[in-house]
Symmetry: D3
Subunit: 188 residues, 6 copies
């Protein structure tokens, strides 16, 4: 039966407020065993005139883009081999870690490394989990299955994978990948 009130500067849209409603509700649900229906969230929007901190009016900073959507767009660009778009979503200092590879810092390295490992790869998704870490980065987990073709042209599918992304300032800073490709290759 908890009630959450959020006082917020005016200027956030419906979708952004929906994310706040969900996040605040779930933050309570993680600790209090209330049914979702027993948790009420009230957002009180403040006009700039009606809000001051340190005697100064303030304007609400634009909302952060949904990190889950950033990752979805990144994955879509990668699948479409639109590497310019994908690269534009990576932050300064980006790094990635794939199974059996050294850490890589650029899409070029990734493409060079992946080249001999599979000819085509596609992802289907079982789910995305999005959260804010205690640090500056938001976290996005996505998991599902890989399908595609080995370098020799034979097909593979139903290979489990999970990706972990760190997003900071709306840029992807880190990607960690785990999957069963080696299991599958060993079986093949």
């Amino acid at each position: 039966m908890p009630i959450v009130e959020l006082h917020l500067l005016q200027g956030y849209g419906s979708e952004e407020k929906r994310r706040l409603h969900d996040g605040l509700t779930d933050a309570v649900r993680l600790v209090v065993p209330a049914l979702p229906d027993a948790i009420t969230v009230l957002i009180h929007e403040m006009e700039p005139d009606n809000y001051s901190r340190g005697r100064k009016h303030r304007v609400g900073a634009p909302a952060l883009k949904d990190p889950g959507n950033i990752v979805k767009r990144y994955l879509k660009a990668m699948e479409a081999r639109d590497f310019d778009s994908a690269r534009s979503m990576l932050g300064e200092g980006f790094s990635m870690q794939f199974p059996g590879a050294e850490p890589m810092a650029s899409l070029k390295e990734l493409l060079d490394w992946a080249g001999p490992r599979y000819r085509i790869v596609k992802k289907t998704y079982d789910g995305f989990d999005v959260m804010q870490s205690s640090g500056p980065e938001a976290l996005v987990y996505c998991r599902g299955n890989l399908s595609g073709e080995w370098p020799d042209g034979t097909a593979f599918d139903s290979i489990r994978f999970i990706d972990r992304f760190e997003i900071e300032g709306e840029k992807i800073m880190r990607q960690d990948v785990w999957n069963d490709i080696a299991e599958a290759r060993a079986k093949a």
Copy 2:
């Protein structure tokens, strides 16, 4: 500069309230690009006498245990081969998915399956990520490195892994595991 007020029935302890402060702060930070220091959380505890819903006083349900701690205790019990303790943390309908294995439903199956794959395995942890899903289950991700001995006694280490747990009603309902064991074996 957002301010969160949580009205809550009395009875939650300091640690439980700290988890609420953190979760509510982070729920806002996922959307609003405010520095953590600009986010204030106020918890207003209500005595039962001062709270009613539907004309009835209510008592706050005991807090849910931290799902991260449940998983840590489970992993510790598994490492200590204290399978009774570990089993007691699993819920009715528990299932697990390991790389290269069929879905399993009991620790016995797991032990039988793992037996020929490695003699000893230990985990060191790089991090735990805990969140409430939109459904009834809380999610715990933990990741790090495996070390141990192959069946032939040779040592291995620095094998990346990640586990995903679903916790519901303070019981582990599902464990999904990804790791680089097959990569390592392929290299060995």
Copy 3:
């Protein structure tokens, strides 16, 4: 000096909010011996975007009609012998209890019963009292005086009466009537 704040979904009109102001003020006055002027009521209306329960936005249900007005319209229709209108205000399972009569369930029964008792009857009102019961029904008391003509055409007036109505879902479910008609007849 009590202050009442009501958080309400947007969509209630001025008249409906006035009823809420009055009812909340009087609810406090029944317990706290404050002068009315010392009781402040603040209504905070929530836009649907700013309100969620169980992660879902909600729309406020249309206000219930003032039960006092429902009864006034019913009494007016009865006096005008507009029985169709009156009947439309009665709920499924309606019953009524008049002095010296068996419980009745329809206007027809009432008319049949009243026929030989008085030729004409009119009500003047001293007051209406409206409240919500602890159950689903709202209560309306109205009291005043009856005037009219006995079956023999002689006039009567100043006969005290009181009616008690139960209203549920905006329909009249029960009417209980007390009056001094028998006293008057005995004197006549």
Copy 4:
């Protein structure tokens, strides 16, 4: 889904707060068609140090006694013929109106008037309805059945009655009575 917050000076007991919870809940229910369970009431008690009006701290006035209980004690005293107790509950300017009688102002008048009308009378109660009027007086309605003996010693029972009381400053200021005694006598 309405939420009511009441800010109140410290010093009200559990029973008094329960009356406030009920009254505030019902005030909302009279207008908003929410299930009782969807209405939350939060009482925030203020220590005198934490409350000021006009720069002055205040002490909450003692709660008004439940008018329903005042009437119940009055009716009990009358039935027990403890007229001193009953009289002590009447306020300066008390008046009462019984069927077929002139307005009366004292218990003595009532006893003189009732003497020839019935030898013994007892009340059984179907219900009490308590509300604050828009004026200074609280209202209590009680209704039920009378049983007893006529002056000639014959018994009567199941005679419907309703009483309306006005209470002000914890004193009964007015009692209006309606019943079916004349109906019963006419039939007898």
Copy 5:
């Protein structure tokens, strides 16, 4: 880290709300050693429909003019020798006290008295301090330097002064003046 919420009837403008933000912030700062940036003020404006006291809706009274501005306009009118304007800002019962003079009640008295003391006098301002007293009057202090000409035509400048004004109902009720004119004359 204190948070101030002000519930106010609708109808105050931006400038008036800015004065409230500043005053409330400073009222806290006088007691709590928080940096200004750590003090948040939220103004919640209430539509008349959403506010009642004593079951009656209210309209917010127009804001009081800034007493600092009233004094500035008065001083400007005096300097411009626009005595009609200046006089219109004085309240019934106005009095003033200048160094070495008896209390005076009208601008005429002041001009007669000042005539032989200096031919011209101008004020430059170092600062204005504005506050509400605990009584009905607002206080305005202004201080700075006087320059001008003595009756013999010689110039003076840099003579310190301070004025204290009491403003009530937007009218100046009292002016107290201190300055170093006598010091300067003694030196001259």
Copy 6:
């Protein structure tokens, strides 16, 4: 009819809260022409467990001493010629400005300067006005009359004075003095 709510970390005493009540009330009165009795202040004290900013619990800083009391103690020490106490209340960088004197920075300078000007001087007070400036300093104005003896032993009294103090971090940083001593001397 404005209502002020202050959310504050626990730990402030009654006297400190009284100063907050007064200051917040007066801050509203400076703008809104409400009678003091129409302004309500509610202080909500937060236990450290129930308050976080940036995910960290905080402890309320000890209240600042009343600047009016600091000045009163300083003036009392000066009158009692307890210069050590008086000096301990002055901050680093203290300066003072007396009529007809150069700015001074120490009590010794003041005593040397005042020596030939009067043998004894005492203050009686008509009032103290205390406020927070928009800057870090609190302001205290005190005014009243001087009495004492001239160097030649003749008495004087009823000489008007006003002092303006700036207090920062509970230390007096600046004192500005205006009075009619030169007027009085000129007349003598």
